[in-house]
Structure formats: structure tokens, C-alpha cells
């Protein structure tokens, strides 16, 4: 049941209605039941097994960690809890990747090892709830949080339907108190939630899905294109994945807001970042915070004696792990590795960069900012090639050919029809106007009901008339 489906448009208000009508004590159970129903509609047979395993394991380890008397016991328990969660993740998601690579390696070394190719059991959402489970255990270990004793609230913390499949990755300290909070109807929250949901829907069905038509046309058969078509498709993908993922997040945040729950903001104009480090402060923020706190910082502390080399190494290692987290394929590993490399290198050139800017007297100028945004966007887009391409050979073809000529541009642009060109152009203009005028709109929302309603209608009719409807899942669904 994706957020952009008719089923979800019925599911959400019905869930809210039941949630509103039942007594305070039963509200958590309504949300938990709705979350389970939400997953049941995904028809992924092993998903309930994984959910039950992760939930019970993490819940138990959380309680034991709190009860452990010695540091040694605590250490054993934290590694046990993390190990158990990672084991579930590996078995459910990474076993096919590992077995496939081992098989190839054994063939390469002419070893007669009989390695069976294994299929993926669960791919949807598993990375998200395992990461949440690990952060919960680490926070208890570091005594930042106390364990949640109520199994229902704990299960709901992991399974809360708006955020589980694609995040945001929530910390127990942020979410559980909100789940426990007494619900009172709040009109502003409802209005904001619905608006955010509609805005997310616009980004998804009007911009992302229409851009996707161009991207798919090229990336599913890259050898039929060259030069500018490849470059344009790569740029289109950069915006498609942003609109798709941030659209989903808006819809998740909007859905949660109906229940007075504020989820973490996950995006902040990432393509206006002035460096790759800045990009990660603005892109998938909850995930960046997670890997920063739970992977980068421990590694940096561990390798602190190596100074800059240690920091660069920690960055590269962190983003390689981030790549693997995104998916079991070499494309994701290279994508993560590239981001790690960008940031690892910046550790060394940062001091010289500042000196250069000062010498050229361009520090803090709009020109420098523009150049930095341009370079960062292109570096990020280059990495997206490995994220999107079907395989390594295709990615290398795109990278090595994207600046060669303009063959196929006409087909690239006209392939999806005039209506699509028009829809993409109009929707991008609307997106830019709204993004740059949020504060002005806020002012109008507060003061001019008639104008506000004209805008509501305009947004809804834009979605209805320009949106691409039909079966389309979100790009980040597979993580």
C-alpha cells in the first residue's frame, strides 16, 4: 500500500477515525494494528517474521542491558543485541549478494566450492527498522535512554506505519514520548499534516514520476544513447530521486502529524549544498545523523591518533557502509565509496581551499557560493550514476560517454510526449516558486482564507491533471 495509492487514501482517514473514536488507553493498539495491517498489504511473506524477530530481540536486549550489573556484561549484551540485529539484516537482505560474490570468487580461483545462490527474503524497510533497533540499544547502553517496558509502545516505535518503510529513522527518545502523549485534537496539526501530505503527493506523482519516464528511457538501455542525453538523464535522476524521496517523507510526516506526532525533518534543499559534507547535512538527515553518531564518531575516536588520515579513513569507511546499507550491490558500494572519497579528500584540501578563496578575494561572495553549489551538485550527480545504473558496465558507459556529443537528445526529450514535457516544466516552476516563497505563503495562509483555498484547489487540480497515476512505487522502498 504505497502512500500514493487509493488504498492508502482510504486507509489513513479510517485509521484516524478509529484512533479518534477509541479511548486514550487503546490508541496505541489502534496505531499498532493499523501498522501491521499496512505491512500485511505489502504481501511480503517474511516481513512479519523479521518484524517479530527484530522487535522481540531488541526489546529483550534493551531490558537486559538496563538490568546488567557490570560493564563487561553490558558490553557483551550490546554486542549481542547489535550482532543479532545485523545477523537478521544479513540473512534477510545480504545473503544473495554474499553468496553470489563468493560463487564468482570461487569460480575465479578455480575452486570447486559448491555455493548455492540464495534469494532475498525481505528487502522492503528492513534496513530502516534494524537501524532504529540498533540506535535504541546503543542509546540504552550509553544511558542516554531508559528501555521502554511497555511492549506495545516499543513495537509501535519500530512499526509506526508512516515512517517504517522509508524513514525518517527515529530515535526512541524522540518518538516514544510522543506515542505515549495524550492525544488531543489539534486543528492546526491536521491542516499542516494534510497540506504536507498533498505537497508530498505533488512532488511524487507530478515531478518524480514524470521525470522518471525520461530517466528510465535512458538508464534501462544506456547504450542506445550517448553524450548530452546521458547527462540530462543523470540530472533528471538527481531530481527524480530527490522529489520521490522527499515527497515520500513529506507524506510520512503529514500522515504522522494527523496523530500529533512530529517526525524528524529529512531534507533541507540538498542541491543547494555548498560541499558534499553540507549535502549530507541536508539529505536524508535522520540517516546522516545516525551514521555520524553510530559509525563515524566511534571510528574517528578509534583512529584519532592518525589525525587527518584517521578522519578521512573514518569518513570513507562510514560511507562505504552507508552504500552497503542502501543495497546489496556493487553499484551502491561505489556510490557510498565516492561520497566517502569526496569528503575524505576535503579533510586535506580544506585549509588550502580557504587560503585560495582569501587570495582570490571571493570568500563569502555569491559567485563562490554559486560555484560551490554547481560543483557539489555535479559531484553528487556523478555518484548517482552508480546508484541508478543497472550494473557497473552501464554506469561506466554513462560516466565515460556523458560528455560526448548530443546523439539521441531529440528522442530523449520527445520520447515521453509533449504532455510530459509540459507537465514537468509546469511542475518544476511550481516547485521552485513554492520552495522560494514558503514564508510568504505562510503569511497568506494565516490571513487570506479565500486565497488560501484558491491555492489548495490549484494544487489539487495540478496533481489531478498533471500527475502520473497508476502503479508506481517509491525509489527508496527497496531499502
Amino acid at each position: 500500500m504505497p502512500f500514493n495509492s487509493l488504498k492508502y487514501f482510504l486507509f489513513l482517514p479510517v485509521t484516524y477515525l478509529v484512533f479518534y473514536l477509541v479511548g486514550e488507553r487503546a490508541r496505541w493498539s489502534v496505531l499498532l494494528a493499523a501498522s501491521l495491517l499496512f505491512y500485511a498489504t505489502l504481501n511480503v511473506p517474511y516481513l512479519p517474521v523479521v518484524l517479530i524477530l527484530v522487535t522481540t530481540t531488541t526489546y529483550s536486549f534493551g531490558i537486559w542491558l538496563d538490568q546488567a550489573g557490570t560493564l563487561k556484561a553490558k558490553r557483551a549484551l550490546i554486542w549481542g543485541g547489535i550482532g543479532a540485529n545485523l545477523l537478521i539484516l544479513i540473512v534477510m537482505k545480504y545473503l544473495p549478494f554474499l553468496s553470489g560474490n563468493l560463487k564468482e570468487l570461487s569460480a575465479l580461483l578455480s575452486l570447486d566450492a559448491k555455493i548455492q545462490q540464495v534469494r532475498i527474503f525481505v528487502a522492503i524497510g528492513v534496513s530502516y527498522y534494524v537501524f532504529q533497533a540498533i540506535s535504541y540499544l546503543v542509546d540504552i547502553y550509553l544511558e542516554i535512554e531508559k528501555p521502554e517496558r511497555h511492549f506495545g509502545y516499543f513495537a509501535l516505535f519500530l512499526a509506526f506505519f508512516p515512517k517504517l518503510l522509508q524513514g525518517p529513522i527515529e530515535r526512541a527518545g524522540d518518538l516514544i514520548p510522543q506515542l505515549r502523549c495524550r492525544y488531543e485534537f489539534n486543528y492546526d496539526n491536521m491542516r499542516f499534516g494534510m497540506l504536507l501530505f498533498t505537497w508530498g503527493l505533488f512532488k511524487k506523482v507530478v515531478i518524480a514520476d514524470r521525470l522518471g519516464l525520461y530517466v528510465d528511457a535512458v538508464y534501462n538501455d544506456v547504450h542506445a544513447f550517448s553524450g548530452l542525453s546521458l547527462l540530462l538523464a543523470t540530472y533528471a535522476y538527481a531530481f527524480q530521486i530527490y522529489m520521490d524521496f522527499s515527497g515520500y517523507t513529506d507524506m510520512a510526516l503529514g500522515s504522522a502529524r494527523l496523530f500529533n506526532i512530529k517526525l524528524t525533518r529529512n531534507f533541507n534543499s540538498p542541491y543547494l549544498a555548498t560541499s558534499v559534507i553540507d549535502f549530507w547535512r541536508r539529505w536524508h538527515i535522520s540517516f546522516s545523523r545516525w551514521i555520524l553518531d553510530y559509525i563515524f564518531k566511534p571510528l574517528q575516536i578509534q583512529w584519532r591518533n592518525w589525525n587527518n588520515l584517521g578522519t578521512a579513513g573514518a569518513l570513507i569507511a562510514t560511507f562505504l557502509i552507508s552504500g552497503i546499507w542502501h543495497g546489496a550491490s556493487w553499484g551502491f558500494v561505489i556510490w557510498g565509496g565516492l561520497h566517502g572519497l569526496y569528503m575524505g579528500c576535503s579533510v586535506f584540501y580544506k585549509p588550502y581551499q580557504k587560503k585560495l578563496h582569501d587570495a582570490l578575494r571571493i570568500e563569502r561572495t555569491e559567485f563562490l557560493k554559486f560555484c560551490q553549489i554547481f560543483v557539489t551538485f555535479n559531484l553528487v550527480s556523478l555518484a548517482w550514476v552508480f546508484f541508478r545504473a543497472s550494473n557497473f558496465a552501464d554506469a561506466m558507459y554513462v560516466v565515460t560517454n556523458m560528455l560526448k556529443g548530443i546523439y539521441g537528445v531529440r528522442y530523449f526529450i520527445s520520447s515521453t510526449g509533449k504532455f510530459n514535457i509540459l507537465a514537468v516544466a509546469i511542475s518544476l516552476v511550481i516547485f521552485i516558486v513554492v520552495s522560494y516563497n514558503v514564508t510568504k505563503f505562510n503569511f497568506l495562509f494565516q490571513n487570506k482564507p479565500l486565497f488560501r483555498w484558491i491555492l489548495y484547489y490549484a494544487l489539487l487540480f495540478t496533481i489531478l491533471s498533471l500527475g502520473k497515476f497508476g502503479e508506481s512505487s517509491f525509489l527508496y522502498f527497496k531499502f
Binding site: 528510465d216 542506445a224 520520447s415 489531478l464
Partner: protein, 367 residues
């Protein structure tokens, strides 16, 4: 809460506008109004062709054509849009009618054939064009439900009772599904485009003697000639369309095609057995896919059942001693990229080449 409910009521004009637009335009003519299809059928039965015929209930049109036939055709074609290029030129001097309907499933073949049976018309040769999705339980095709009475009756005659729920239920669900369309955003978009085009064109469809024109033409023999723009595309544009078709996820009606549907296999087997028993000759046609599309089908694990279905159709043909024309593989069918309109529709000339020998096959229907 009251304030919220009041505000939500303010949003009601949106579904109301959507419904009013789709109801008024109804580009696919899904309202239960027979005048459109009866009008088209009477033109076709008079021997004239119909220009600019798009978005209509193809099953309903077939029903009115067959009900209005004065003489039984000697050769008929049962198939999908992929077989609409088979025309009377392949069978000169023989009464020929192509009864193909878009997105056809096995239920369509049986339902349409039953219309002939009910009227007591018996063709001498039936060309069955078989698409792979016929054997895909999850092909998503439900347009046959317009002919559910005819299908269920014939299904009983063939000795089957259990493949579907009762006709009344099917019809009711079909009606609900049809009326859902009036609130669907896709249909709203189509309706808006239709209203703009209608305002420009002035006329919806008209009778013509032309065999091809700027607009699409439904020929009196039941075959279909695409609009000029679509027909006269450059190879690069055809390939571009094929690429877009190939990357559709899933490819048209081939989603979740993990096994061959046994009930559809049995039904098809029995249908062919019935035709042969009633001394009706049968030919099987396997319409080829565009080379780019077939390459994807051939290499993508999700579509392994396409080759399996062709294998089974050939086995079935062998069992009933039926001649097979074409293959999903364009190489086997000796077709190139330029022989297609898009990813799945071979051009009429290409179909003629494949049926090259069929004149003699047709001649034999006169024996």
C-alpha cells in the same frame, strides 16, 4: 473537529468536478449507452470504413457487428490489438472478419466465438492470435466481463464451470469497476484532453472509403489502420517507443507471470478441441515483439514465462495438428525494427509477410 469536517466539506467540489468532467466527456464511452457502438457497427456492416474511431467499448462493437451480420464470414480472427493488422488482403475473395479486441484474454475469444454460435453462424477458419498474457493469471485484463454472459455460456458448453464466479457477480463487479473510472485521475486527464480535442475536431467519427488517413481507421473487415503520425514514424522513434514499452514495470499484462495458468491452458485446449470437432479449421498466430522488447523479455528473469507460453502454444498446435504462424521472437519471424509500429504491434506489411503462404491456407477453407 467540527471545523475540520466543515473544511473537508469544502473539498467536495473536487471529486464533483472530476466526476462531472469524466461523465460529460466519457472518452472511452464506458457509460452504458449503446448508441455509439451501434452507430459504428451499422457503418462497418454497410461495407464502409470508420475514421477517427478511438476509445470505445470494443467488445460491445463486436457484439453489434456479429448480431448484424447477414452472412457468416468464412475466416475470422480472434486476438488482441497485436493481431488487428491481419486483414482481408491476406485472404482475397473470401468473406473475412477480424474480431480482435484490445487486451484480449481467453474469455474474450470464447465469448466472441459464442456470439457466432448463438447466431448460428459457423466460420470455416478461425485464426487464433495468442499473446503470452493469455496464460498469465495476473494479466489484469477484465474488459472481457462485458461479454461475461456469452463467455460463461460457452464455458459450460466446453465442460467448465469453475474458472470464475457467477456471471451476475462478475457483471456487478465489472459495473462497479466501470463507475470507479469516473473518479479516477487517469480518466480525468483523458477526459480533459478529449474535450479539448473534440472541440478542435468537431466530429467524433465518420464513415469513409479511405483505407488510410491522418486519423486512425477501423476497416470494414475488422482490421485497424493506425493514424498517420503513428504509422509513418522513423525507425529511431519506433525504437524509442519500444524502449519505453520495454521498461514499463511490469511490461504490458506480464506482471507476476511466474507460472502458466493451468485453467487458461485447459480452456484453450478445450476450445480448440471444440472447434476442430465442429469441423472448423484453426490457425495459430504468435504476434512477434519488437527486437528491443524481445531482448528484454529474453534476458529478464521476470519474463521467462513468455518463452514458456510460446513453447506450450506450439505443443498445443502440434497436439491438434494446427499450423503456427509467427513467433514472439522477431528473428524467428524474420522481422526487423522497422517492421513495427512500437514495442508490440507489428506493421500490417510485416503481418502479410508472415502469412505469405496463407492464401493457399485460405483457399483450402473453400474446399
Amino acid at each position: 473537529m467540527t471545523k475540520l469536517l466543515k473544511k473537508i466539506l469544502l473539498l467536495l467540489p473536487i471529486p464533483a468536478v472530476v466526476f462531472a468532467t469524466t461523465w460529460m466527456a466519457d472518452p472511452a464511452n464506458i457509460k452504458d449507452d449503446d448508441s455509439f457502438e451501434t452507430g459504428v457497427a451499422s457503418i462497418l456492416l454497410s461495407g464502409k470504413n470508420v475514421a477517427n474511431l478511438v476509445n470505445y467499448n470494443e467488445r460491445k462493437l463486436q457484439k453489434y457487428i456479429i448480431l448484424g451480420l447477414l452472412k457468416p464470414p468464412e475466416v475470422i480472427v480472434l486476438g488482441s490489438s497485436r493481431s488487428m493488422g491481419i486483414n482481408s488482403d491476406i485472404f482475397p475473395n473470401i468473406l473475412f472478419l477480424n474480431n480482435s479486441v484490445s487486451g484480449a484474454s481467453i474469455e474474450d475469444y470464447i465469448g466472441i466465438f459464442n456470439l457466432y454460435r448463438i447466431r448460428g453462424l459457423k466460420p470455416k477458419l478461425v485464426i487464433i492470435s495468442l499473446d503470452p498474457w493469455i496464460l498469465n493469471r495476473y494479466n489484469g485484463q477484465d474488459r472481457w466481463k462485458y461479454l461475461s454472459d456469452e463467455f460463461f455460456e460457452m464455458e459450460n458448453i466446453l465442460g467448465f464451470h469453475s474458472t470464475h464466479s457467477t456471471s451476475v457477480q462478475e457483471k456487478f463487479l465489472y459495473k462497479i469497476h466501470i463507475y470507479e473510472e469516473f473518479l479516477s485521475p487517469e480518466y480525468f486527464q483523458q477526459s480533459c484532453i478529449y474535450l479539448i480535442q473534440k472541440k478542435r475536431a468537431g466530429k467524433i467519427y465518420w464513415a469513409t472509403d479511405k483505407l488510410q488517413a491522418e486519423e486512425p481507421i477501423k476497416i470494414a473487415d475488422g482490421s485497424y489502420v493506425y493514424a498517420e503520425k503513428f504509422r509513418e514514424k522513423q525507425v529511431a522513434d519506433i525504437n524509442s517507443d519500444a524502449r519505453i514499452y520495454a521498461i514499463e514495470k511490469p511490461m504490458y499484462s506480464l506482471g507476476r507471470f511466474n507460472e502458466l495458468d493451468k485453467s487458461a491452458m485447459q480452456l484453450l485446449d478445450s476450445f480448440i478441441y471444440y472447434l476442430k470437432k465442429n469441423e472448423i479449421k484453426v490457425l495459430i498466430y504468435l504476434p512477434p515483439y519488437h527486437p528491443i522488447v524481445y531482448e528484454v523479455i529474453n534476458t529478464n528473469k521476470a519474463y521467462t514465462m513468455v518463452a514458456e507460453s510460446e513453447k506450450w502454444y506450439r505443443f498445443l498446435a502440434n497436439k491438434h495438428k494446427i499450423k503456427v504462424f509467427g513467433s514472439y521472437d522477431p528473428k524467428i519471424s524474420n522481422l526487423e525494427e522497422s517492421d513495427f509500429f512500437d514495442g508490440m504491434h507489428p506493421k500490417n506489411q510485416a503481418v502479410h509477410r508472415m502469412f505469405g503462404l496463407c492464401g493457399s491456407e485460405g483457399d483450402r477453407t473453400n474446399q
